[in-house]
């Protein structure tokens, strides 16, 4: 086997391998919508996060604008503190309404943002003023039964 031919094929092999990794990152994975460096953090206190998981999407008008970075329990307010890692391309007003929603009947839970009308924008590390907890099916059924009993 000629050296140059062998070198050529090894070059093709390495390029194809790196190309495959790039395709995996860009086309299959979420590297295109994944700005690692330029993101900012927003905090939200929720009374109940239901089944929200870390890495769950943050959506506004259905568009993914960030991801859930961290979930903690606060001993000061006795509720859940959710840290959102937001894409820095998107800014939201101070009075943005954050709620935990479910995509579809059995889908995953995500954080939905409904922008308000405030002129000032939320800065890195700030908190949402208005939040809405996740719907818990048991509570809903309980309330429904309670109302039913009260009505009769």
């Amino acid at each position: 086997m000629q050296r140059t031919v062998m070198d050529f094929w090894v070059g093709v092999f390495v390029m194809a391998g790196i190309g495959a990794l790039l395709i995996l990152g860009l086309k299959v994975g979420n590297l295109t919508s994944y700005q690692g460096g330029d993101s900012y953090a927003l905090l939200g206190n929720f009374e109940n996060i239901g089944g929200l998981k870390i890495r769950a999407p943050v959506k506004s008008a259905g568009v993914v604008v960030g991801r859930v970075a961290n979930i903690e329990f606060s001993l000061e307010t006795y509720d859940a503190v959710v840290t959102l890692s937001m894409d820095s391309r998107y800014r939201f007003p101070k009075d943005t309404f954050a709620s935990i929603l479910t995509s579809g009947l059995l889908g995953e839970q995500y954080v939905g943002l409904l922008p308000g009308g405030d002129e000032a924008m939320l800065e890195d590390g700030e908190r949402f003023i208005k939040t809405n907890s996740a719907m818990v099916l048991e509570e809903m059924i309980g309330r429904f039964l309670f109302n039913k009993a009260a009505g009769d």
Partner: protein
Amino acid sequence: MDVILIKQTAAVIQRIGHRTINSIWRLGCASHFILLVLLKSWTSFARPRLITREIYYAGVMSLVIILVSGLFVGLVLGLQGYETLQKFGSESAVGTLVALSLVRELGPVVAGLLFASRAGSAMTAEIGLMKATEQLSAMGMMAVDPVARVVAPKFWAGVFSMPLLAAMFSVMGVFGGYLVTVVVIGVDEGSFWSQMQNAVDFRYDIVNGVIKSCCFGVVITAIAVFEGFDAPPTAEGVSMATTRTVVTSSLAILGLDFVLTAFMFRGVA
């Protein structure tokens, strides 16, 4: 009567003990050998041409079987995934299914199994035959270290080729899944890609898959070069060593895959 029974039991226990000591001894030999390879690999880094040659034989020559099997695994995954998912009306999630199962598990594992039987056995056979025909001793006579000249380049070529092959396998699989579900069956192309991109995380899924394939590359080539170097210098010995390479590295891949999966994917990010 009792004496015979006791003697027989003792013989059985003795055999178990002998086997255990033997296998631990071999494991020690193998670790020692791999350490030696690592210590002597500076020669092959100083002469990258040696590694290039081995990448050609280990990587480029495995390309056809890796690409074809990747394509067919993807085709079958697409068909079967569609078959099951359409019962729940969520056939657009088939892209997620194909991509996640390939990137996380099937890509590294199946590519590793193929690599072990295609390239690992060739490495063992080559080193074993060089030993049987006393080429390795001849090198030693000429003050050329056979571990540095023959074994280390093969080791590094395998370690380098394996992640690239696994990535190509996954890409071909995703392409196969795309072909059968979007082009043939007619699942919506937009939701196929967007659901896939929503579900596959770069750091969590793809990087973990690449780490897995790197681990498999190290294990496969380490077993292959050790078995070759350790083979009895006869035709039978080389053939047995080749068989042992394929069996041992396949079992090692499957076992290691479970351990790595248990550490990487535990449902918590």
